[in-house]
């Protein structure tokens, strides 16, 4: 529908230059990733089989089958898609890391969710997805994208920022609007800790992807209304990296704090025979 933004065109050009591949090949590879994401959504929505621990597995299908009490089909679709991917992930199913496996549902939830709501073809998602990859790479220049290094903000914050930029591009936003959408998504994720129950990528990870897919759509909505991130995007990434460095080890994927240390969380850990 829209011509690619200069930002996504630039990212594609850079990637071609570095990889030595032509644009057609890179676009084809990205379309393959989009279809893999779609497959994991489909598989995730079709089953309510529990994960190894039994903590998750039925959320995506359950939400999809529930009445739309808010009369907000986009919202419900985005949440269901996001959880479908992460429940597949928790079953050791096949997913596309974006940028990580624990945050793999956010981009498909937001971008494919919006596309399906509007009836758009997968080909139209290629350049928005290329831009998402570029945003992820730009963030990773300043910080490690892993919960162990930077807390959940590094994972779900990055995925939400990438998704926000992609949805903004899909809906016709300018390069500037895309980057500001990413920045707003990121600045509202700073400080989020990684405290997975039992050390498994299940609680809170599955529901967190539903929440942050919606978060990304919210950021796109604001950016498309020409609202901007008061703190410039690069400074926001720097702030997140600083907060990551200040975060205690107990709150960085070690399952030694937060939800993992609640009585219920500890009971799951004990039942599963020690920390995951």
């Amino acid at each position: 529908m829209n011509a690619p933004t200069p930002a996504s065109a630039w990212v594609l050009e850079q990637d071609c230059a570095e990889s030595g591949l032509d644009a057609q090949t890179v676009r084809g590879s990205m379309l393959g990733r989009i279809r893999e994401m779609r497959d994991s959504i489909r598989r995730g929505l079709a089953t309510d089989a529990p994960s190894i621990t039994g903590m998750v597995g039925w959320n995506a299908k359950g939400l999809q089958g529930a009445p739309d009490v808010l009369n907000a089909p986009l919202l419900k679709r985005v949440q269901a898609y996001a959880m479908a991917v992460n429940e597949e992930n928790a079953r050791m199913g096949r997913i596309v890391a974006a940028p990580t496996a624990g945050s793999a549902g956010t981009i498909p939830g937001a971008l494919i969710g919006v596309a399906d709501h509007l009836g758009l073809a997968d080909e139209q998602l290629i350049m928005p997805m290329v831009l998402a990859a570029g945003i992820g790479q730009a963030i990773s220049r300043q910080m490690f994208i892993s919960g162990a290094a930077g807390g959940c903000q590094a994972e779900i914050g990055s995925s939400a920022a990438m998704a926000a930029a992609a949805v903004t591009e899909l809906l016709g936003g300018s390069s500037r609007a895309c980057v500001h959408a990413a920045s707003m998504a990121l600045m509202n994720t700073i400080g989020l800790v990684c405290d997975p129950v039992g050390g498994f990528v299940e609680v809170p990870c599955v529901s967190r992807n539903a929440f942050f897919a919606v978060h990304a759509v919210s950021a796109a909505q604001l950016a498309l209304a020409n609202l901007e991130s008061f703190i410039p995007p690069d400074e926001v990434v720097g702030a997140m990296a600083q907060v990551g460095r200040m975060m205690p080890l107990e709150l960085r994927e070690t399952a030694e704090g937060g939800l993992a240390q609640t009585p219920t969380g500890l009971a799951v850990t004990a039942r599963m025979g020690g920390k995951g």
Partner: protein, 234 residues
């Protein structure tokens, strides 16, 4: 950043761990029969729930991160005659997601690797046989263990250039003057088989290994494996 396509549940603890195994297997240059793996920090603490041990073994067996056999890697190892054991290890000041693999082949080959999984399935090898190295496996990497002597690096560089291969990055370290040394060269393409054989025939050479890119062909965009915005990161 979009990718890899992988078996869950964790890009760093599962896909990255699998890739560390893939690199170790290539460094051994043979099918491994015994693997002793130390798990550091977060790999030790939350590895089980993430299938880290399964993924490391899968990589040692030569499976890619999206291989459907990954969840059954322990049974596959038994069938392939690979013995494995895991222990907690303190590897010092390395990334929290790190492992040390000591690997042995049927012909008595041995190699050790310390590598970190830095997020999104991206890895970084930091030590081979105790020598400091630095490579990610995103591009072809030549590892050479040799005896330190005047002009060896220049000779290797000349051979690589004569093979029409461009060098992207180079790290070299040695035990002591005239002692065992290691050269680690990241390159734009792998060296030709003929050049590798020739290189291996030099008297200074202990062993020569070509680590082929561990990122699948479809991984060219994103994956963190990929060079999106690489122009600004190099």
């Amino acid at each position: 950043m979009i990718g890899p396509v992988m078996i869950g549940p964790s890009s760093s603890h599962t896909a990255g761990a699998c890739r560390i195994g893939l690199v170790a297997r290539q460094l051994l240059g043979a099918a491994p029969v015994r693997a002793r793996t130390g798990l550091h920090a977060s790999f030790a603490k939350t590895g089980r729930g993430h299938g880290t041990q399964l993924a490391l073994v899968a990589g040692l067996l030569g499976f890619q991160p999206d291989d459907a056999r990954l969840p059954d890697a322990f049974a596959e190892a038994q069938a392939a005659g690979l013995e494995y054991e895991f222990h907690d290890a303190d590897l010092g000041d390395v990334h929290p997601n790190s492992a040390c693999i000591e690997l042995e082949g049927a012909g008595g080959e041995r190699v050790s690797l310390i590598a970190s999984s830095t997020g999104g399935g991206v890895i970084e090898a930091v030590r081979v046989d105790g020598f400091r190295v630095s490579f990610s496996g995103a591009s072809a990497t030549l590892l050479i263990r040799y005896t330190d002597a005047l002009g060896v690096i220049a000779k290797v560089a000349a051979l690589v250039a004569a093979d029409h291969v461009n060098v992207a990055a180079l790290v070299c370290s040695r035990e002591k003057r005239g002692g065992a040394a290691m050269l680690c060269i990241e390159m734009d393409q792998p060296l030709s088989p003929a050049a590798l054989v020739f290189l291996g025939s030099w008297p200074e050479m202990d062993w020569v290994r070509m680590v082929r890119p561990i990122m699948d062909a479809g991984a060219t965009i994103g994956g963190g494996d990929v060079p999106i915005l690489a122009g600004t990161t190099a």
